[in-house]
């Protein structure tokens, strides 16, 4: 596996491969790789001749009081995992090269950034859209792979790529879960043992919500939200940012639940913010 740190080297490498007609995959990550990332790399490996995994902890998508500094950086382990999964290139640029002095351009999808996590993380999705737009130009992939755990992110990026006519196909892959159902996330490692045990209730609440809707026991999203809050509130030292039912395409809140719907939630357990979602098809 080749490790590339320079943007221009990555881009010229990609452009050469493209000229040779090679299909290129990009799996953009912030590192601290887990089983979710592994599933993306496997899928990318299956469908493409060249698999590029980027590791970049993007400062632009962290708020001033968020966890940029303490975000887990485990490059040596990540590199070993990627070798195991037969990635071809690990692209790990520096923040100084990605956002040099004078950097001034932002890519924004305001309509999809105003719901769900948006109000709780101002500027987050603008940071995501901007860095992914850059990565797509640098790596020139035919396909890019994202996990559905970050559902809103997937929607923002899909909208951005379509609107800007970027010639890439986005592949959204199912959320990978730990044995008890908790969605894999780099932030899970922030959790204490006790918090980790309680964290499963996030998935349990969403699972319950899907059941209540599928069995037509609940059709009002407000009522459903209140019911699920009862579950989440039993987690010690927790604070719920939102429990929402939204249209899976435009992410607008639904009062009366029509299907398909996306049930999504974000909550804090101690100092750790977790998100998860389930589709109600």
């Amino acid at each position: 596996m080749k490790v590339i740190r320079s943007i221009s080297e990555m881009q010229s490498f990609a452009l050469r491969r493209q000229m040779q007609g090679k299909s290129i995959a990009l799996v953009p990550t912030m590192g601290a790789l887990h089983e979710g990332h592994r599933s993306l790399v496997r899928r990318a490996r299956k469908d493409n001749e060249l698999v590029v995994v980027s590791i970049f902890v993007n400062p632009l998508q962290f708020g001033p009081r968020e966890d940029l500094k303490k975000y887990p950086r485990t490059l040596a382990r990540d590199e070993a995992l990627l070798k195991e999964e037969q990635a071809d290139v690990l692209f790990a640029p520096s923040a100084e090269d990605m956002f040099p002095a004078g950097f001034a351009t932002f890519v924004d999808v305001p309509a999809l950034s105003a719901t769900l996590c948006g109000p709780f993380r101002p500027g987050h999705f603008r940071g995501v859209a901007t860095v992914v737009a850059k990565l797509l130009q640098i790596v020139q992939p035919n396909r890019a792979y994202f996990g559905e755990k970050d559902y809103q992110q997937v929607r923002v990026i899909a909208r951005m790529a379509e609107d800007l006519n970027i010639p890439v196909r986005l592949v959204a892959c199912p959320t990978v879960r730990e044995n008890d159902g908790l969605a894999c996330s780099s932030r899970n490692r922030y959790l204490s043992r006790r918090e980790r045990e309680e964290a499963v209730k996030l998935y349990q609440a969403l699972y319950l919500g899907r059941e209540l809707v599928e069995q037509k026991i609940m059709t009002d999203s407000g009522k459903l939200g209140r019911r699920l809050m009862q579950v989440l509130k039993t987690i010690p030292r927790s604070r719920v940012d939102y429990v929402s039912v939204v249209d899976p395409v435009n992410l607008q809140a639904m009062k009366k639940i029509r299907r398909p719907a996306l049930l999504a939630a974000a909550l804090w357990i101690g100092q750790t913010r977790l998100i998860d979602n389930v589709m109600i098809p």
Copy 2:
């Protein structure tokens, strides 16, 4: 010359040519072509194997009270001119295809959009950056050609392309002027005969300003502005938006003039808004 109206046809045509190693030029225009455009096409023709000229009157860069509806559309004449200049492709997409229902993504360079024309045309440069980002993805050019008459636009686009790592080289070409010095512009045709005669004073004022600075007669941009206003105010039915001296790279206003500097102005003559600039090297 091939005329392409479909975005997907244009993009797959470009991607095929790119795979063959052909160098592609893009000359983005809003049509109503004049000698300024002609010089861009000639330059593009000299340096590239494939020359694509886009004609698209971009609704996103017009304000609600601006001249989108009356902007001159002269497609048959434009087509003839482009054949004469041996362009290979005229790309003329529809507004419905460029901005379909649900379009939601914006590319913005706020720091370079807040000076000069920015405050007088809110949203204009965001509209420009967004449409050019799209055109660069659709046409996949190695080089893109712009006229320095729209100096701020060139800076916004250069910043955007660099920041987003779009693999294109921007070529800024000198402003082409009519015999008396007025910068060529599609909007010149709005001018009545009398207005056209008076319009030359815009260039004369900038030319005078450059002289005053080069001969070190003036070093204070406020004083210089007031001096040039005296010239511009002699134009009947005119209203000056600004006369500014700015840093040519970051476009920030200079109080004391350091060189290089850009001297730029915008004014209305009757219902027509004209812009022009001169570099003071």
